[in-house]
């Protein structure tokens, strides 16, 4: 009977959550805003991520096989569909289009339900967690990620990536992943964890700005904003509010459709926690 009871309870909570914006059950709701107009594609965030998260350097051969481990990857597109096709132009009319892509921390994540051992699951902070030591490496999650932002340890990269003394730089707050484990951007969960722990030690609440992800901290143009969407004073909440992206709805009910906020592949209903602000070009 408890199955039925739980099911009814969860379902009603879920329905209620949808109506209320989808996250009222959470303690925090970590979210991000990336202003594509400010992003210069300089790669600083990506290298900062390598430094913070013990990402393995796989080398040229494995990179060529598509086995690289860049949690934060900067994509570069040459075309600009919204501005009309520039293919007829002799040389590039505008610059390139850069897209920093890391795990979108979907709230209706497609990776979570398919993990056979629940190594990918949703935390009460609204994060897509990946528990490395629970992962058995079925790679189903990566197949089911429409953003292709999960990276698999195809080899024991640690054997070659950090020849001594490079291994002294490894961050002890995060496991160094061995072969056969899926990994991905965690919104620097070790920083979140430390900040929450520190706040609890001081019996206070987390302030906006207590936690900075590695990419946000280093971003030279401050294009990345990170924070708690449930804190209505936080920068990230204000930006979401300003650009009228909302969690919990597949279709954004924007008063002004020209506002810049959008989430990647919103039509798939994955409800990412990352809002991108559209790039602007003077034409």
């Amino acid at each position: 009977m408890s199955i039925v009871r739980n099911f009814i309870q969860d379902w009603s909570r879920y329905r209620k959550g949808i109506e209320d914006g989808g996250f009222h059950e959470y303690e925090h709701m970590w979210g991000m805003v990336i202003d594509l107009d400010k992003c210069t594609g300089c790669n600083a965030c990506s290298v900062a991520c390598y430094a913070e998260n013990n990402l393995a350097v796989v080398g040229e051969d494995y990179f060529a096989h598509g086995q690289a481990m860049h949690w934060m990857r900067i994509e570069r597109y040459w075309d600009e569909p919204n501005l009309g096709d520039k293919a007829s132009k002799d040389t590039q009319e505008h610059g390139a289009s850069f897209m920093p892509m890391m795990c979108q921390q979907c709230n209706a994540a497609t990776c979570e339900p398919v993990c056979p051992v629940a190594a990918a699951y949703h935390t009460p902070d609204g994060l897509n967690a990946q528990i490395y030591n629970r992962c058995i490496g079925s790679r189903y999650c990566a197949n089911n990620c429409p953003y292709r932002l999960r990276y698999f340890n195809f080899y024991s990269y640690y054997e070659t990536s950090w020849p001594s003394p490079l291994d002294m730089q490894l961050n002890p707050d995060i496991t160094v992943r061995d072969k056969g484990v899926m990994e991905k951007c965690t919104f620097c969960v070790q920083r979140i964890r430390t900040a929450k722990s520190d706040a609890k030690m001081d019996d206070r609440k987390i302030q906006d700005g207590d936690i900075k992800t590695a990419c946000q901290q280093t971003c030279p143009t401050s294009a990345i904003v990170f924070g708690d969407l449930m804190d209505h004073e936080s920068d990230v909440h204000l930006l979401w509010h300003k650009h009228q992206t909302k969690l919990g709805t597949p279709k954004q009910d924007k008063k002004n459709p020209e506002l810049r906020g959008y989430r990647l592949y919103e039509q798939l209903n994955t409800e990412p926690s990352v809002t991108y602000l559209e790039r602007v070009r003077e034409v």
């Binding site: 494995y62 096989h65 598509g66 086995q67 690289a68 990857r73 994509e75 597109y77 897209m99 892509m101 497609t110 339900p113 398919v114 993990c115 056979p116 051992v117 629940a118 699951y121 629970r134 992962c135 058995i136 490496g137 079925s138 790679r139 189903y140 990566a142 197949n143 089911n144 429409p146 953003y147 292709r148 990276y151 698999f152 340890n153 195809f154 080899y155 024991s156 072969k179 056969g180 484990v181 899926m182 592949y265 798939l268």
Partner: protein, 465 residues
């Protein structure tokens, strides 16, 4: 016995029961040189697979060439293929048993063995493809100190349940159906075999009560197995259909997979039929009319499969999903088009060869056709797994990948593993059901007898019924 090998000749209803026993038992004795060659060949293939797997186990999944868009490839497609192969036995023994199609009787035993062994082969693949094989038992719910469970929402967990259940049921079915034959074997052999058969035939004496219980159990198992067979492949289809990827997220996948499974299973039966008939000289039992029926059945299933295939294309084509359409177009015109078009030819056009009696009765030709059909079905599975991963939503990560020697090695090894199991089976267990052939012959005789009776002493028959 030459008259029995004539093309259209059905089983000889006058055949002596002792001869049936003798023929089948002969097939289990004294392996000839050819058997050992075949066995060595299979062991060779298997050792390639073992070597590849040990290499992969040591190094990681990297040597298999899998990469970021292609997290799955040959392993999963071959897994689905072997699961498909396993459906033949159920079809022949359970479904046709319920429908009282007596022509199944001489061939269902090896078809069931095929079911069991292809399941055992299929079972390896989800395990082999795991990045951390040594933790595979986490997929199974068991009481642990940690108090955590698998994720019951994951189709992979359903797979684990479905496959293990199906495997258990089909092993039981195979075994139960074999008990009377094992008793025959027990009574005719000496040495370790006698011990084995004595143990396995569980005191079968062939008395009335035993036969009654046996028939009930067998029918019950058959009824139990049919929904299982449908569910196991539907669940395998759910691995894909539950994902949101274009080309996988298809509503018609479960029936499509089941149809495909029956299709490849039947094609597999035809192949083994031809082999057994040739090597064990089973021409009297595995007669051409039986092959005809099997081929017709295969053709019918092929048409169902073709229809579902076309439905899938149509629903993608007339749907609004751009990404699904891209994947479909990429299958037709992209880098995968040689495989895809081959698969369409083998799967949709080639089965028409099965309705030509001349081809059906040409043993080498029908063998080649059946192998090609199965290659087509294997390609079908590959064409489900690979193109979607190559071209999903995010163009930045598009890419085509060619499997490495490790993946091929393991796929080849799986064929060796299946062959090895099957070769051992045919020498240890009767690959033709003796008692059912007798039954069949008996029934045929009854028909002949009854016909004669009808002509001569009609009233008494009416009385009797």
């Amino acid at each position: 016995m030459a008259e029995h090998t004539a093309a259209t000749k059905d089983i000889d209803e006058k055949i002596a029961w002792a001869k049936i026993n003798a023929d089948v038992l002969r097939s289990m004795q004294n392996p000839r040189k050819g058997y050992w060659v075949a066995l060595a060949f299979c062991v060779g293939l298997l050792s390639i697979g073992i070597y590849a797997e040990v290499h992969q186990y040591d190094i990681g999944m990297g040597p298999s060439n899998l990469n970021n868009p292609h997290m799955w490839d040959l392993y999963i497609s071959t897994f689905v293929f072997w699961i498909g192969m396993s459906h033949s036995g159920t079809l022949l023994s359970a479904i046709l048993h319920i429908f009282h199609a007596d022509w199944r009787k001489p061939i269902y035993r090896f078809a069931e063995a095929m079911t069991t062994f292809s399941l055992l082969t299929a079972l390896l693949f989800p395990i082999i493809h795991l990045g951390r094989v040594w933790n595979m038992h986490w997929v199974v719910p068991y009481l642990s100190d940690r108090g955590i469970w698998p994720n019951f929402r994951s189709p992979l967990v359903w797979d684990a349940f479905a496959i293990t259940t199906y495997l258990t049921a089909s092993v039981l079915f195979l075994y139960i159906g074999m008990i009377p034959d094992l008793a025959i074997c027990r009574d005719n052999v000496k040495g370790w075999r006698r011990k084995l058969y004595t143990f396995m035939s569980v005191g079968w004496r062939g008395d009335d009560r035993q036969w009654r219980n046996f028939r009930k159990t067998y029918l019950l198992m058959a009824c139990f197995l049919i929904p299982l067979a449908v569910s196991v492949h539907s669940i395998v289809a759910a691995d894909f259909a539950m994902a949101i990827m274009p080309g996988w997220h298809v509503t018609s996948f479960p029936p499509y997979f089941v149809a495909g499974a029956l299709y490849s299973g039947c094609a597999g039966i035809i192949s083994l039929f031809v082999l057994l008939r040739y090597f064990f000289k089973f021409e009297q039992y595995m007669t051409l009319p039986i092959l005809d029926k099997t081929c017709r059945l295969t053709f019918a299933i092929a048409m169902v499969w073709t229809y579902l295939n076309l439905i899938e294309f149509a629903s993608v084509w007339y749907g609004h999903d751009v990404t699904s359409k891209e994947v479909l177009l990429a299958k037709f015109f992209g880098p995968y088009s040689p495989f895809f078009l081959t698969m369409l030819f083998f799967g949709m056009i080639l089965p028409f060869a099965l309705i030509v009696p001349k081809i059906r009765h040409n043993m080498p030709l029908i063998f080649i056709v059946s192998i090609l059909l199965n290659i087509g079905m294997w390609l079908e599975r590959y064409m489900i797994v690979a193109p979607t991963l190559s071209l999903a939503y995010h163009p930045w990560t598009w890419g085509v990948m060619w499997p490495s020697w490790v993946e091929w090695g393991i796929v080849i090894g799986s064929i060796g593993w299946f062959g090895l199991l099957f070769l051992i089976f045919v020498k240890v267990f009767p690959s033709v059901s003796m008692y059912e052939v007798k039954e069949m012959v008996y029934h045929r005789r009854r028909v002949v007898f009854d016909d004669a009776e009808e002509r001569v002493m009609k009233p008494s028959r009416q009385e009797g019924s």
